[in-house]
């Protein structure tokens, strides 16, 4: 029972991370396009400024929970996905300093430089996170020790010796990029006014069609690449509520974007992302990392979890901590609710 609880906790943490950090990554993706002058750029940055590093705490907390609750999974996946994880770290570093250092110096090459770094690192992170999810769905070549190592690419085929990037994971990377572009555009649309808002809204309208098309395409292909997904939904049809949530979110975005209900459109995007991620997690369960060759080698919640004592005592300190983090998150978002205002006089 405890491994199932911890599986759900880690899944929720990662889903929260994608929903929350997802919109600031998305805001980074659309940053150069929708914000054309210094005031508009500051508006985009100000909309995520108070919250973006808090959003990353969910990734750290999720990673920490993964470490002590499923040490075998943490060890296997982190060493197996060695190269992409290191590249993700470099991108997180560059993105972090571009936000922190941008406003320290006011001149014509400093700020555009960091704006560009911010935009590109955000875009690449979105693509990498999508490709990572694609790798988990497709599975990896685990050996009997539960280890593997993936090169960045091999022949771009999802066969028995895949790379991190094959045509399927590139597709999921593009899918994540579009999803977060839409998510970020809806956030900017919610938080700004006038010209920049109009641009964000038209980005969102275009991106929506791409996301809708890829939702259908990636879903069909995923069920063929990972047959376990279908088994999960057949075994427990209650699981269909997760895809239903995603479809409702997708439809909601379309309707609310038409109506100009900016806040509801953004919440619909959150629901869509939550629905898609929980669908994947439900479909993969009880595996946590499927093996491509022999299903018996897959890492599951049972063979990858820590013993009961550690999981039980972990609940004791994790629960209050996460409640505290959640209430702080709510407090922060309420405090900075509403449209972003630039203070008069600028810098």
């Amino acid at each position: 029972m405890l491994p199932v609880i911890w599986f759900c906790i880690v899944a929720v943490m990662i889903a929260m991370y994608v929903v929350l950090d997802g919109f600031d990554l998305g805001a980074g993706i659309v940053h150069l396009g929708v914000a054309r002058n210094e005031d508009e750029r500051r508006m985009v940055l100000k909309s995520i400024g108070p919250v973006w590093d808090g959003n990353e705490v969910w990734l750290l907390a999720g990673g920490g929970a993964l470490y002590f609750a499923f040490p075998a999974l943490y060890a296997s996946s982190f060493s197996g996905f060695y190269l992409p994880l290191m590249i993700v770290l470099w991108l997180l570093i560059l993105r972090g300093i571009s936000v922190e250092f941008r406003n320290h110096i006011d001149n014509r090459i400093w700020k555009p430089l960091w704006d560009t770094v911010f935009c590109f690192s955000s875009a690449l992170l979105a693509i990498f996170f999508g490709a990572a999810l694609g790798n988990v769905v497709r599975g990896v070549p685990l050996n009997a020790n539960g280890d593997f190592f993936l090169p960045l690419w091999t022949n771009f085929q999802p066969g028995p010796q895949p790379g991190i990037l094959d045509w399927y994971t590139i597709l999921t990377g593009v899918f994540a990029f579009l999803t977060l572009t839409l998510h970020g555009a809806l956030w900017v649309n919610l938080k700004t006014e006038n010209a920049i808002q109009a641009r964000a809204r038209s980005v969102a309208r275009f991106a929506w069609f791409g996301v809708a098309a890829l939702t259908v395409l990636v879903t069909i292909i995923s069920f063929q690449i990972q047959t376990h997904l279908a088994t999960s939904f057949q075994n427990l049809p209650l699981g269909y509520i997760f895809p239903a949530l995603a479809i409702a979110g997708l439809a909601g975005m379309f309707v609310f974007l038409r109506k100009g209900a900016d806040d509801k459109a953004f919440y619909a995007s959150c629901a869509y992302i939550l629905g898609m991620l929980t669908s994947v997690v439900f479909g993969v369960f009880p595996n946590v990392l499927p093996a491509v060759s022999d299903p018996n080698l897959s890492l599951t919640i049972h063979n990858a979890s820590a013993p009961e004592y550690g999981l039980r005592i972990g609940l004791m300190w994790f629960t209050p901590g996460i409640l505290l983090a959640a209430s702080y998150t709510i407090f922060l978002y309420r405090k900075f609710a509403g449209k972003v205002q630039l203070e008069a006089g600028g810098h």
Binding site: P50, D53, G64, P71, S79, G310
Partner: protein, 449 residues
Amino acid sequence: MESALAIHRFHFAFNITFHYIFVQLTLGLALLIFVLKTMAIKTGDERYNNAARFWAKIFAVNFALGVVTGIPMEFMFGTNWSRFSKAAGGVIGHTLGMEGLYSFFLESSFLGLLLFGEKILGRIGHWLAAGAVWIGSWLSAYLIVATNAWMQRPTGYTLGPDGEILLSSWWALVFNEWAFWQYLHTLLGGVVTGSFVVAGVGAFYLLLHKQEDMGRLFVRTGVIAGLIATVLVAFPTGDQQGMLVAKYQPATLAAMEGHFETGKAVPLAILGQPDVEQGRLDNPLLLPGVLSFITHKRWDAEVKGLDAFPRENWPDNIPLLYYAFHIMVGLGTIFIAVMALSAFQLWRGKLYSFKPLLWALLLMMPLPYVANTAGWMTTELGRQPWLIYGLMRTAEGTSPHVSSGNALFTLLGFMGIYSLLFMLGLFMIWREIDHGPASVDQPESPAGY
């Protein structure tokens, strides 16, 4: 350096050494900023608030660099040391996870209030925010030190049927005897760095005849805090830490001291070069009986030399371990002397115009960084050849499928990015120092909120 093991070790050492450059200053400044805020409330003197604002800005740059270089550390346990993580993740995942969840979040939320909330919070509220940043960063440090302490002296575990390490007592993990002294010693090392930096910047202003009012305040604060910290870091914390090494890692103690042959009334080597092949110390400068006294508090006590331990359990780089330890102790002694002399001149009211000492304070600013790094090298080289002392050897902990070529690729990548970060960080800090503290206003948030 062509073997994967050597590259994984150097990779981790490089990343964590660089990370700790920023961390040690934030640990020291967190306390000193809180002291300045407290003085501002007690005396009602606005200059203390100015000083606190100035150092909070320097703190913020260091903190940001500490966070972005710290996140890779949490990843590297899994990426480069997967066999270690698989075996021990169920234990140290607790302390590392708690650090990630509680402390990081405490610090980053309250740091925003400290930097940008002075007007909203009022005097007492802002003082509390400074206190929260101090407590948060020191709590964070405790959980990291406790993780390292468990690797130095594992407690609260049982071994499973296949030799896996199972957590059996969370309390024993968190309240490890080793963690207590190592924590105080480490944190005081951070305060030493903070004190030297504050005093050094003050000396810089005094020598330049620029912002001299603030310069005097910085020198005074740095010297008083520095005298207390340099003494406490040696005694009792460093001394007690040494006793723990003598008790739990006797081979390490012998290697640190360059002590090859077991004997009674053993002298302490102040200088000399260990010759591991011949098993002796070349060109020694010895204090008779002192090693016996400091390890067992008796002048004629027996101290085991390296010959008492099987060769495969000797630390694998004895000369570097010996030098790291001696550099730390040597610098620590010089720090006490300089701070004591400065405090004496301060008490006589002559320090602010006594140029040789101001120059010394200015030029010594990099040395606490060297001493702290050497201290951590002593800890980590001293634990060799074990990754978890007595339980798992370092060679057994690496990721089996990450080849030396891939590890070297990411090491070089980090070296490139960190060089960039280092230059940017120095540049930002220099700008703050050059601009000076006299007219520091409420800063604009980097993200403009």
